[in-house]
Structure formats: structure tokens, C-alpha cells
Symmetry: C2
């Protein structure tokens, strides 16, 4: 027996269909959505990633504006983000990391208008998410939820072990899971007895960044495992945090690396952008409506 | 055998001593700390609570300014909080709940300057806490940590079960525990198998608001239990979420209600206010210093 493969592809397809529908609505009303990506460094990995966002945006009819500021200073990057906040034609803003040394990235993401913070980078977005107010979650954290919901994995009342406590995956994911009434345990490098959690969890999410960390010894037969890790092994291959060879034959379902969560994130960034644009468009339309009523 | 009693009194005493030391430092430099409490409703419980803060502040040499705006409108309360943000003599701001019906409390707490948000009410404070940036935690959540640290209960690597997921206790407490390298499980009303968590946890924190919810059946002998519940029983007595009669003889240590967490919170609100004032004072002193150097 082998685990059901929780592939990201159909999940991303479904998200792209939702995005397309919203884009059609925007276009009908004479609007279009625009994502701005601020790129403050020049390296192969980030350049490749930003190009992939541009291609995906083009395919969905979303404008993508890349602002290249290699070796940008704090003041330049601050001015750039503030200009994007003030630009009504821009609906989503991403500050691509890493930033040049000496630049305080934390101070920059706090400037991003929460209504345009489509990758949930501003701590205010995370705080709002935590208290249950409307906010965008980081796309990677949200991707895990999209996969679980697409494959109808029940969450309410169930124990979900989140392994990893980063601000971009583990912590926001815990909030998204609590919103869905899961019981959430947050494990990490200092957890004394990891199997105590992963063996009793209905769902285990691995988001640590250590290749092959989760083996068959740490999971129950009935469990669902979502791999969020992105590590490069000795052969230069992309591998997750799950030791696939031993875990896959054992568990009920597994979302693999590659082909899982990573497939979904870019689609979600675009969906978030288009959602933000739709909200702006509705506000403008509503204002227009009430003005014409007044006439 | 009976559990060690984790009383709040010595913890509060210790906090008051820290506050007194900071107040002495402020006074030496010609400064004083001021807490502003915005009171938008008139009822016995809140009036009593605000009076108790005033008394505690007076005892510590902290100024306490109560702004009574019963039936205050959104606009009035907004203007009040903005004025307090802008007032350099005010170092801490509390918006006392409940607010009048029709007033959006969430919109108001988001206005509180994070550097003056000494009860961690602004979601930005919670977000900053979550990503590890300086921020004040809600006093009740922080009180639990103060009790655990005072009695030297080890947290790093240990499993702490937090029962309750409110924005003022459970959720910020989970972040404070993660900061201290605990493995945290967050349980709540929808948790299918609560004992699965509370029986395996080294520490269980009850913050649900249901009298006698945790009984001896749900705890391990070696565990430490912190009761944060405040419920009124049929006889009008204040009782916690822990069924004390059965749990106390079984567990290793118990922080009781009354006499535990509740004893610590007001002391912490004042410590936070004085910490905020000290930071402002140091900035002013430093500016003065650099100005005199320039001469």
C-alpha cells in the first residue's frame, strides 16, 4: 500500500480558476489587478522566482510590476514601498527577500499597507489573522490549508502537529488551523519528544527545513503528512523535510516535495492580489453608485 | 500529598519591586510614569477594577489618569485615544472593555500606539510578539509566564498544553511559551480528546472560562497546572477552570483561583507602564546628552 498523493497541481488549478473568475469581473467593470514586486538584491534564485511570478501573472491577466533596486538603501526602499501604498493602481505588494546587508527588512514590511500585504509579511497582518480580523496570510501557510481543504481532510476537532515555528509558515499556519477548529501543537528544534506529537496527530505539517527529518518511525499509519520543506540534497535535488521512501508506504496521504505546497503558492499570491483589487473596485463602484443616487 | 501552591502574591511582590526600582530611576531623572485608562461604560465590575488599578498605581508612585466617557461615541473615543498617543506625558494606555453598543472596540485598540499599548490590545502588538519583535503582551498572558518563571518551572523542550484560544490569553501565551522553547499545544472547546494533551503535558494552563472543567482524570501526577479561569459559581464565589478539590491532591503544583494569576496582572500593567516611561526617558536623556556634546 502507498499513501494517497496530495498533489498541488489540481489545487493550484482550482485557485487559478477562482482568480480567472475575479479577473473577468474586474475587467467587465473596467479595472485590472496589479502586483508590485520590490527586488532589492540580484541573485539567481530570487531572479528566477520573480520571473516565475511574472509569467504566472501574465497567464492570468494580472499586471506585474517588478521594481529592481539592487543595493537599494533603507531610504530608497522605504520611499518605494510608500509610493506603492499610495498608488491606487497597485493592489498587491511583495518585498522580495533577501534585502542588501544593512537594510532592516522588518522595518520595511511594517510599512506595507495591510490591504496590499498579499503575502502577509507585515506583523499587523499576522496579528489581525490571530485575532480573527480580515488579513492576508503568508501564501505558503495558506497553501497548506488549500491542499487540506481541496482533499477534504477533516480539521475541526482533530490534532494537527505543526513542526516548525517560523513567522512565514508555522506560526501563521497555526492560526489558520485554529480558525478551522483544529487542535494545534507547535513543535520545533527544541521539542524533546517529537514522535509524541507526530504519532498522535491526524495531520502532520513539516516546515523545518531539514531534509529527511520525518521518518516512518515518527508517523502513525492513519496520518496525513504535508511537506513544506525545501532543501537541496547532496545531488542538488530539491527535497522536503519528509523521508519519502519510508513515510510514503506507511501513511494515509502525503503531499510531496516537489509537486505539493510549492506548486500552490504563486497561484495564491495572484488570487490574493485579485481579491485585494476586487475589494478596491467594489468600494469605488459603491461610491459611484451612491453618488449617482444622489443626483 | 497535596500540590505545591503557586501563589501569585510573591510573584506580584517581585514585580512591584522591579517597578519601584524603575520608578526611582525615573524620579531621579526628573520624570514620572503615567497610565491612562479610558472608561467608556459605567458598571460596577469595571468601576471596581479601574479603582483597583488607581490604588495600585498610587501605591507605586505611578500617575493614573482615568478618562470617563460613558456612552462615548466612536468619534469621541477615537479622538481621546489619539490625544493620548500624542501626549508625551502619557506612557501607557488601556481601553477598558466593554464599550457602549455600536462602538467598534477593535477599531479603537488598533489606534493605540504600540509603544503605549501596555496591555497588548492592538493586533500589531500581538503580531510583533509573534515574529519576535519588542511588544507588550496582554498582562494576563504575561502573568502566567511570570508565575512559571518565579517558581522555576522548566519550559524549554517541555510540552505545555494551553486550553483556551482567546486573543487576550491563549494565543499570546502560546507565543510567549514558544519564545521560551516550550512545545505548545493549543486546545479549545472543539478539541476532541482534551486528556490526550493535558495528561501528557508537563504544564497545563486553563484559560477557558468554564468552572471545574479540568478534573483529576485529565491530569498527570507530575504535572503543573496554572488556572487562569475566572468564573462565578452558584454561591457567587470566584472559581477557576480547575476542579481544585480533585486536582490539588493529585498534581505536582497548582496556581489557584483566587490567589494566582489574577493577583499578578495589575502589577504587570504598572511594570509595563514604567518600562514604557523608562524607554521614553532614556531617549530624551540621550538626545539631551548628544545636544550638550554638540555645544
Amino acid at each position: 500500500m502507498t499513501a494517497q498523493r496530495l498533489s498541488g497541481k489540481p489545487v493550484a488549478d482550482e485557485i487559478r480558476a477562482r482568480t480567472a473568475q475575479l479577473v473577468a469581473g474586474l475587467n467587465r467593470d473596467g479595472f485590472s489587478a496589479r502586483l508590485a514586486v520590490v527586488l532589492a538584491t540580484r541573485n539567481e534564485a530570487t531572479t528566477w522566482y520573480v520571473r516565475s511570478i511574472e509569467r504566472a501573472a501574465a497567464a492570468q491577466g494580472v499586471e506585474c510590476q517588478v521594481l529592481e533596486l539592487p543595493d537599494g538603501t533603507q531610504a530608497q526602499l522605504t520611499a518605494t514601498i510608500e509610493a506603492l501604498n499610495g498608488d491606487e493602481a497597485v493592489h498587491g505588494i511583495i518585498l522580495q527577500t533577501p534585502v542588501p546587508s544593512g537594510v532592516d527588512a522588518a522595518a520595511l514590511v511594517q510599512l506595507i499597507d495591510p490591504t496590499k500585504d498579499i503575502d502577509g509579511a507585515n506583523p499587523l497582518s499576522l496579528g489581525r489573522l490571530t485575532v480573527g480580523q480580515p488579513a492576508f496570510a503568508p501564501a505558503t501557510a495558506r497553501s497548506v490549508i488549500e491542499i487540506l481543504e481541496h482533499y477534504r481532510i477533516p480539521l475541526a476537532g482533530h490534532h494537527v502537529a505543526v513542526v516548525g515555528r517560523s513567522a512565514v509558515v508555522g506560526k501563521p499556519l497555526a492560526q489558520l488551523l485554529l480558525q478551522r477548529d483544529a487542535t494545534v501543537s507547535i513543535c520545533h528544534s527544541q521539542t524533546a519528544e517529537l514522535p509524541e506529537f507526530t504519532k498522535t496527530a491526524a495531520v502532520t505539517v513539516m516546515a523545518v527545513g531539514r531534509a529527511n527529518l520525518l521518518t516512518a518511525h515518527e508517523v502513525a499509519d492513519s496520518s496525513v503528512v504535508i511537506d513544506v520543506g525545501t532543501n537541496v540534497d547532496d545531488d542538488g535535488q530539491l527535497v522536503g523535510d519528509v523521508h519519502t521512501a519510508s513515510v510514503q508506504p506507511k501513511v494515509r496521504a502525503l503531499s510531496p516535495v516537489p509537486g505539493g505546497v510549492g506548486t500552490v503558492t504563486t497561484a495564491l499570491l495572484l488570487l490574493h492580489t485579485v481579491q485585494a483589487a476586487t475589494k478596491v473596485c467594489q468600494t469605488i463602484m459603491w461610491r459611484g453608485e451612491s453618488m449617482s443616487t444622489r443626483r
